[in-house]
Amino acid sequence: MSKKDKNIFFYIIMVLPALMLMSLFLLFPTFWGVIISLTDLSLLGPSARHPKFVGLLNYINLLSDPLFYHSLTLTVWFVIGSAIIGQFLLGLFIAIITYGKGDLLFKIATGLMITSWILPETVFAYIWLAYLGRDGLLNQLLRLVGVGPIPWLVEYPLQSIIVANIWRGTAWSWMLFSSALKSVPKEIFDVADVDGVSLWQKARYITIPLIKRHIVTDLILITLWTFNQFGWVYAMTGGGPAFRTLLITIYAYLRAFKYLELGPGAAIAIVVFLINLFVTIAYLKLIRGE
């Protein structure tokens, strides 16, 4: 056995435990999900006892399922509105205007922003329910100026969860960009200041090109996180009212665990998985192609 072969053998041994764990907890459940999505397995009725293999029927049914398209469209708007426009742009903007500032006010603001990010999902959902409710804080405040009450979660459900998600997630983008900006030599900005460059020009010609990789990383992560968002949205709206916040993850959950149709539920989950895979590959190509 040559030295090189020995090395390969050694590497395999080293990655084996990780590989086994990944297979057990990641690959196997995914594979199992694919299998279930090809059956009519249900937890109730005849197919609970005798599930049948139905091929791609669950996927074909999705193509003519209005709720599937509805939930997919809602999810895309949710991602564009709250992740790409909201968290990303707002995070970048705050990172640029707070760059180089270290005063007390800034530190307090940092603390508050991180708080919104680290709140447990159910607590977060409850806070926003209490805030947006018919007798909630927002309507109490609006009453002082003679407006409302507006049942926000009934009239503007999607907008409400978009705003909530921006509030929750902006801290992450901002922290990422802040630390990225710290790696940019301060002299560049000093020179720019001397030349009287505007804030917008600084962002356009200095900041963004220098932290481009961070931007792509941020976009990959927040797109995936937002696309897969489930917990607090479900706790807050349950997908309602009248399916107007039925994100695709909530639809998969309802099919599998409320209507107890595991086959169709799994098919939706697999579609979500494939979309995630596609988004990730597209972003990675974007990085490599630069």
Binding site: L44, R49, P151, V154, G240, P241, A242, F257, K258
Partner: protein
Amino acid sequence: MFILLPLVLSMALVAPSLAAPEKVTISICYHHAGEPWAKIMRETVDRAIAIFKSKMKELGLDVDVKVIELPITVDEDYKAKLVLDIKAGRAADIIFVDSFWVPEFVEAGYLLPLPVQDWTGWGKFYPAMRGMVTYKGKAYALMFDTDVRLIYYNKVLFKKVGLPEDWRPRSWSDIIEAARIIKKKLPDVTPIQFYAITAQGEATSMQSFYMWLLGALPKEAVTSGNWLYDFKRGKWVIYKSAWLDTLKIYKLVFVDEKLGDISIQLEKGGTAWQPLQSGVRDRKVAMLIDGSWVVCGWSPIGVFPWPARDKELGWAPMPGSGKPDTMKIVCVSGGWTYAINAFTKHPLLAWEFLKVLGSADVISYWCSVSVHIPTREDATLNPKLFPKDPSAVKLNDEMAKAIMPYTTYRPARPEYPKVSTLIQQLVEKVATGAAGPEAALDSFVAQLKKLVGPENVEVLP
């Protein structure tokens, strides 16, 4: 398995002489929507446990019953938990099951058939109550209670606008007219409410859609029990004009004239019943279509105590549409059952306990305190059993006598719960204005055909 019971019990009788018998524990689970239901169900179950234990003691058996209370407000959430528990082998031996779930539970293999032929108590249940828990010729559960649905109204509000305090609507237009008068004279009051959202689950089908639909259907379809599923032809039947008339009521009430408030229902979702039921008490909602048990919620121990209830609460049987060849009074009844989990390790003891739960004594007690209607002919509503609110028991008795003769039931089919879910989506679509009655009904029929197969659906004029 059950024919071995006397043998096992007699062995148990001699067992003490051989060795100290091991204590056997069986379990029972149910859910409740908070007080007063939590308290009264616990009292009822404890009453049954005491009888069961003393019975078993006479046979020399030392048994115990573990009670698993699940404070889950929404029935569908309880169903999901129950089914997952059963599948995982962790559910209780005796389970609380809504009567309309029985066929799909049986098809899934979750319920044990009951040897009712060897039990004299079975014949005491009313024929309709036996029918609701019988599937493909076998009995799978015991009906614990049943109910009627009707229209409640607040007499104080009616008096204010000049409507009679002993109001008896004869047709839909009487109801709509009353609602219009209230809207005009009392703009801060919601004239009428009935459930119209998917989050209210089966309540939207039972306490709302069917209560209107039954009044629009041909009389013969209702009285024969073939109004949703035609058992003679083995098809789901959609009487198109009746369904459209019903959906037009939702459009009129919630969208066009805003006689009902869909917004509060959507906002509260699974707990929308709370502002509706408290609203009738608080003079915020003038009319509400709901179940007889709601009277218990308005009792002194209830979730919305209403001291002036007996003076201020009015009720009337739900009238039909008033069109020719339709019902004059309509109602649909359901009810909850106790059944045996098919995966129980103690089927014999579970059956013994189930018989106690289904006894005249326990059912009389439960129905009296919870304002439900007894399912056995030898069970009675007794005001003495509910000393905190004897008048609720009397009220319940009056409702039962006035409405039970007109009531009908849901088809006992394993697909029914899914059909009902589609109906709830249909109602919500129309009540929120997302689609008009015709378009919503067309898409409903298409989805129904996909669910049960196009050959099993018939659309009638």
